[in-house]
């Protein structure tokens, strides 16, 4: 830890950090643009200038870029020196030459890093008399807006998109003062992480179209800390609302889970809350088969009347622990199941065993530190998207090593990349088809699911034996690594794939205790509900005709088959969204969405995390656990259920501690969901009445639906947004971190529920029918909720059947022919990267029936006209020119 002197103040600097990081970590405000905590330094903007002194006698010093300066023992710097402040002022003055004065209509206004930095350096006078450079904007798809005139050419967007996220369709064009950032041609951005551009851009070039659609000032949004609902990784998010609609989702920094970035399913999928398919109130089906709207009280009474005999409760992996537990207690443990298929339960059983074992399960951020990765049959980018970003950083470890050996700092981004060239740490992918990570893979094998299992068995054998084979090569790669990691998951719906992955990790761990295993689960709370009860089986519980069944937030028809509920007399559905199960229910109770309800969710690494309600739902809509409480008559708050969960399930003890309960106060104050500057609140309903209605009281949490209260000192688990004086953008996060890139000052949020001590004995593989029709998960299309987000729904692919030329020949079809199964019609895509004798179809709404189909049942469609590219739904390519 070198000691440095900044304006004569002694500071302990972290070895290996650059000066900018040290200054920010120590609360010293230095403006910057191009540096990014996750992407390092390149020295483009020159905004972070300070004065560096050569030796103790040097009084003049010279301008240096703090982001490009390593800290060394005894080094002296000044942030305040006149030449430094004047230089930083000039940087903004020069950046402003061409910047439009459109803050009043700019989406970024009010949380713009450029605005903040302009104020910070004190630039206010305009002396430039020339014309401004102007650009034409591009259509970049339904998610991201583009306003190039606002660009300050910090290069963050391309560095993020190309270098960090591996995208290749956003680039820097031109040169001098005419650098343009965009696509070669207008069109939908291809990368699954494009939404981060909105946060990475320090000004308003890349904007969130879902927000722009009903634009609201950032300070008028009401926000809360939430957990992303779109996959099992549990990324931390801020969800923001206005006028009862979710307006946007931002990344909520978590040093172990999602770091600084989200995927597009998570960011834009939350728009499902605004779907027209939302269930607005309670309904009872009348004799004519139509729903009659009834008050929630009447509906609850009606349901209570049905609770006399045996009632079956089907829970859900997308519902919170609180709601599932409330259901379980209402119907009794014996009558409850978690609502997953038997295959899903088996797979999550494996995950639970691995979590409970002594195998080392890294966090998503730790994945970035492994130096050899084997992906076993998990479609990471489509199924657990955020993990793909971490894998992309992990393969750079070899470059970081090379940099360390050459004496180049790890944050010196361009230099490290130059040194590493195309060298990548090994990444081996076993999958039935092309994978979005192929571009960084050192080795790929296209295998049918069963063959993946056999391949891994051979790798396990090869770890002990010495016979050359493909498996031997992979085994040697893993054995050669300092820290090998096995990644697998549930995307191929094969328990054996998970089991054999665990066996491999155990075998490797015996040779190298630093081995890690990272298993991706299915849904936001699959692991959580498996911990509540993984034995209850819906088929068995419903085996005999059932009188009354309560289904909690689960589309049983799609998940378990429509036949299952055919014999049910009273079907009570508690859900937020219309779906096939909802629409056949006898009574429907309107559940709050994740944005309107508190809830605890357990992610794939066994971390319990609390998601807070962003806003009060409209009308009779009520959080699931509250509806169930009402039915049970004990009216417990969320924290009441959290205590019950802890009491009932030893393994869920951490649920209570993962966030403070509703009693929590900061010096007597609640935590305000609105910003101090929520100026528009009083005007919101002024067209109805000039009297501002009283803000609703939050009985469930220590947060308040007002702007009165605290925010900056809230612990991370309760902080509704990041803001710090002078730092109105998400860049303010460093004010809340222990140090740049470190844990939150309030500690790491969430509680990991497993300590992992049991020795894993090894899983017996079960008989699995060889699957030849393989459903491919799609980041946009395979998630029930995010499919209902208006913008994402336009990106869902059309049905296709992808197969090798040999398979196509055997089915007597060719590229762009039609192939049918029942009324599902798919476009044939011939692709020799698909494993032999396999046909891959997309798991999108309407293709579920293919799950039980055989290859021989597929029929060629006569006279079929193919869409030009089923993977890319047809979209207009331009929506404005200027």
């Amino acid at each position: 830890m070198p000691t440095i002197f900044v304006d004569d103040r002694a500071i302990e600097a972290k070895t290996g950090d650059n000066l900018l990081e040290v200054l920010l970590s120590n609360g010293i405000d230095v403006p910057y643009f191009c540096w990014h905590p996750a992407m390092g330094s390149v020295g483009a903007c020159r905004q972070c200038a300070v004065v560096g002194y050569a030796n103790p006698d040097d009084t003049r010093g010279r301008i240096i870029m703090s982001c490009m300066t390593p800290v060394t023992e005894g080094a002296r710097f000044s942030v305040e020196a006149e030449n430094a402040t004047s230089f930083r002022n000039s940087v903004v003055e020069n950046l402003m030459l061409n910047h439009p004065h459109d803050c009043p209509v700019c989406e970024e206004g009010g949380e713009c890093h450029l605005q903040d930095m302009t104020v910070m350096v004190g630039h206010s006078d305009r002396r430039y008399k020339g014309l401004k450079t102007t650009f034409r904007n591009q259509y970049l798809g339904p998610l991201i807006g583009h306003e190039m005139n606002r660009c300050i050419t910090c290069y963050r967007c391309v560095r993020y998109y190309q270098d960090y996220a591996g995208g290749d369709d956003l680039a820097a064009f031109g040169s001098r003062d005419r650098v343009f950032f965009g696509r070669a041609e207008p069109g939908v951005l291809d990368n699954e992480f494009s939404g981060n551009l909105v946060e990475v851009c320090p000004t308003g070039v890349f904007t969130d179209k879902t927000l722009s659609k009903h634009y609201s000032r950032k300070w008028d949004l009401q926000s809360a800390p939430t957990v992303c609902q779109a996959c099992s990784l549990g990324c931390n998010t801020y969800t923001s609302e206005r006028y009862g609609e979710v307006r946007r989702v931002h990344n909520r920094y978590h040093n172990e889970v999602n770091g600084y970035f989200l995927c597009d399913r998570g960011r834009f999928g939350a728009q499902h809350v605004n779907s027209p398919k939302r269930i607005p109130g309670a309904g009872i089906r009348n004799a004519g088969g139509l729903y009659e709207p009834v008050s929630i009280a009447d509906a609850l009474d009606k349901v209570k009347g049905l609770l006399t005999g045996k009632v079956i409760g089907i829970g859900s992996p997308r519902a919170s622990l609180e709601s599932n537990e409330a259901l379980r207690q209402l119907v009794g443990a014996d009558n409850y199941c978690n609502g997953m298929t038997s295959t899903e339960r088996e797979m999550h059983g494996v995950i639970l065993e691995v979590l409970a074992s002594n195998l080392s399960v890294p966090t998503m951020m730790e994945v970035e530190t492994f130096d050899a990765i084997l992906v076993v049959g998990e479609d990471v980018t489509n199924h657990a998207p955020r993990l793909a970003l971490s894998i992309r950083q992990a393969v750079r470890n070899i470059g970081q090593q090379l940099a360390a050996d050459t004496g180049i700092s790890q944050w010196h981004d361009a230099a490290v990349r130059e040194l590493e060239q195309d060298e990548k740490s090994p990444l081996v992918i076993l999958s039935p088809m092309t994978d979005r990570l192929d571009d960084i893979a050192s080795d790929t094998h296209r295998l049918a699911p069963n063959d993946i299992v056999s391949m891994v068995e051979q790798i396990i054998e090869a770890i002990d034996e010495d016979k050359p084979s493909d498996a031997k090569d992979i085994a040697s790669t893993l054995l050669a690594a300092k820290r090998p990691l096995i990644i697998s998951g549930t995307s191929l719906s094969s328990p054996n794939i998970l089991k054999v992955s665990a066996n491999l990790a155990a075998a490797l761990a015996r040779k190298n205790p630093s081995t890690g295993i990272f298993l991706c689960a299915s849904e936001v709370n699959s692991v959580g509900v498996a911990m509540i009860d993984n034995t209850g089986n819906a088929e068995e519980l419903l085996g005999n005709r059932s009188e009354t069944v309560i289904v909690l937030e689960n589309d049983i028809d799609t998940r378990l088959g429509s036949a299952l509920l055919d014999e049910v007399r009273n079907l009570v559905v508690i859900d937020a969204m219309d779906n096939p199960t909802t629409s056949r229910s006898s009574i429907v109770l309107p559940a709050a969405s994740f944005a309107e309800a508190e809830g605890t969710f357990v992610n794939n690494e066994g971390r319990a995390q609390r998601s807070m309600a962003t806003f009060n739902p409209a009308g009779d809509i009520t959080p699931g656990y509250q509806l169930l409480s009402a039915l049970g008559g004990d009216h417990l708050s969320a924290s009441g259920w959290q205590q019950k969960l802890t009491a009932e399930h030893a393994s869920l003890a951490g649920v209570v501690t993962c966030a403070p309960d509703e009693q929590f106060r900061i010096e007597g104050s609640r935590i305000a969901r609105m910003t101090h500057r929520a100026s528009g609140r009083t005007a919101m309903l002024a067209d109805v009445s000039v009297h501002e209605p009283q803000q609703p009281l939050d009985t469930e949490s220590p947060l308040a639906f007002t702007m009165e209260g605290n925010q900056t000192r809230a612990p991370a688990s309760l902080r509704p947004y990041t803001w710090s004086p002078g730092w109105n953008s998400n860049q303010s996060i460093h004010k809340f971190q222990d140090e740049v890139g470190g844990p939150d000052k309030s500690g790491t949020t969430g509680t990991r529920l497993f300590t992992g001590s049991t020795e894993l004995t090894g899983f017996e593989l079960s008989e699995e029918a060889s699957a030849n029709l393989i459903g491919q998960v799609h980041i946009f299309g395979s998630d029930e909720l995010s499919n209902e987000a208006a913008e994402l729904s336009t990106l869902i692919p059309q049905p296709y059947a992808r197969m090798s030329s040999a398979t196509a020949a055997s089915l007597e079809v060719s590229h762009h022919d039609g192939l049918a199964f029942g009324d599902i019609i798919m476009t044939v895509l011939v692709d020799d990267e698909v494993a032999e004798r396999c046909v891959v179809y997309p798991m999108i709404p309407g293709t579920e029936a293919l799950g039980s189909a055989q290859l021989s049942e597929l029929q060629k469609v006569a006279g079929y006209t193919s869409p030009s590219d089923p993977l890319r739904p047809s979209l207009i390519t331009t929506d404005r020119t200027s």
């Binding site: 483009a44 020159r46 000039s90 020339g130 050419t153 290069y155 180049i408 230099a415 040194l419």
Partner: protein, 428 residues
């Protein structure tokens, strides 16, 4: 031993020197006596001893630069690159060397590569130099056919493959790290230093970039020794230098003269003084990115340190003459337009700052300036002008003629502003 080693094959010969002529005049003797026979470290010592300084503009000692290349480990590539981009306005020396005597450069490169154990070389040449490109390619083919290039040169263990890379334009490619990015097929954005190319250069491998004239000198130092080389110079720096003069002088041109030749001698004897009817007002001693000097500096010897003491830089040694019929503001406006246009667009002070400077200068030149504009120019030249303020040396170089112009020709700025017009009438 000629006292004009670089141009001895050029002076008084109309054509260009091919392999046969080159060898008949003693060419490749240095290669033959060195490759496989002399220890590379000994050649490096010789270079250091000769104190050859880079002819690309910065004057960095070549031997010292080479000594930063790490000891060879493993068999990864190591590269030698000749910087033949020559786009500095007012500079016209490397073209002459390459067009007239291409083997001289190739021999220098073989010897340099041998010294630093480089196995691959590139001549990065600007795309407009069609004649030089063709002649270099022809010379490389001839040298390769004679076993002087390629695998196992002259049956030694040493192999060196040499390629000509024809640039697609832009001045910034001359900056050595931008040049490397361009050679890699990328946008020519300079790289931050450290790491220096010697450690992580082309494709992340150890690389040396030298100017064409620098490399040509290597041949003669190896052939004739360090003492001989040092004795050629008139002052502390050894060797000869290609000096030139353009603008309204009687005989514009380029001449090989001893390092340390006084400016007056170059201008008055070699360039024949000012053209009929013109007076010397000022001059840029070594290309567009050097500070103005004035008639008061005529006795300064053209040598790195002495020109530096006079307040400028020797740069490329090719002088641009400002005469009394030409407008200093107009000349500076022309220079800044060039620098603004050639900015790579990476760092703020250069990308934004130079167009602003250009806008102000154009306005003053057009008679629309205000006195406050001079303050803007001064502030901008401080902001942009120091090495380290920007990502590379392009923009600081751009400020040298501006800052010195404001110093020496301030009255002209004021005349423009107060008279609301440029006082110089161009004869159209």
């Amino acid at each position: 031993m000629s006292d004009k080693p670089l141009t001895k094959n050029i002076i008084g010969f109309d054509g260009h020197t091919d392999l046969a002529r080159y060898e008949s005049l003693g060419g490749y003797a240095a290669v033959r006596k060195t490759i496989g026979r002399t220890d590379p470290d000994a050649v490096l010592e010789l270079l250091k001893d000769a104190n050859l300084r880079g002819r690309g503009g910065a004057g960095f000692p070549t031997g010292m630069k080479w000594s930063f290349v790490p000891k060879k480990e493993g068999n990864g590539h190591r590269y030698l690159v000749a910087n033949a981009d020559e786009m500095e306005p007012g500079t016209f020396k490397d073209r002459l060397l390459m067009e007239k005597d291409p083997h001289q450069l190739i021999e220098g490169m073989i010897l340099s590569a041998y010294t630093i154990s480089a196995d691959v070389g590139y001549i990065f040449i600007r795309g407009e130099y069609h004649v030089a490109i063709a002649r270099l390619q022809e010379a490389i083919n001839a040298a390769s056919a004679s076993g002087l290039l390629g695998e196992h040169i002259l049956d030694s263990e040493f192999s060196f493959r040499l390629h000509v890379h024809v640039s697609a334009g832009r001045y910034i490619c001359g900056e050595e790290t931008a040049l490397l990015n361009s050679l890699e097929g990328k946008r020519a954005i300079p790289r931050a230093k450290p790491p220096f190319p010697q450690v992580s250069g082309l494709w992340g491998r150890p690389t040396i970039v030298n100017n064409v004239e620098t490399l040509c000198n290597v041949t003669h130092i190896v052939a004739n020794g360090a003492d001989w080389f040092k004795s050629l110079g008139l002052g502390v720096d050894g060797g000869t230098k290609l000096f030139g003069a353009s603008g309204r002088v009687a005989r514009p041109g380029c001449w090989e003269l001893p390092m340390g030749t006084p400016i007056r001698e170059i201008l008055e004897e070699h360039a024949g003084g000012m053209a009929e009817g013109y007076q010397l007002k000022g001059f840029l001693p070594g290309g567009a990115s050097t500070d103005f000097l004035t008639p008061d500096h005529l006795d300064v010897p053209m040598e790195y340190d002495t020109v530096m003491q006079a307040g400028s830089r020797m740069g490329t040694g090719t002088m641009i003459i400002l005469d009394d019929h030409s407008c200093a503001v107009g000349m500076i406006a022309n220079l800044e337009k060039f620098f603004a246009r050639e900015s790579c667009g990476f760092c703020t002070p250069c990308r934004e700052g130079l167009p602003w400077v250009q806008e102000v200068l154009d306005r003053i030149e057009a008679g629309n300036g205000e006195l406050d504009d001079i303050k803007v120019l001064e502030r901008q030249s401080q902001f942009i002008g120091a090495i380290g303020n920007t990502h590379c040396a392009h923009a600081p170089g751009a400020m040298e003629p501006l800052a010195s112009g404001l110093k020496y020709f301030r009255d002209e700025f004021i005349t423009h502003i107060e008279g609301k017009a440029c006082p110089y009438q161009r004869e159209v």
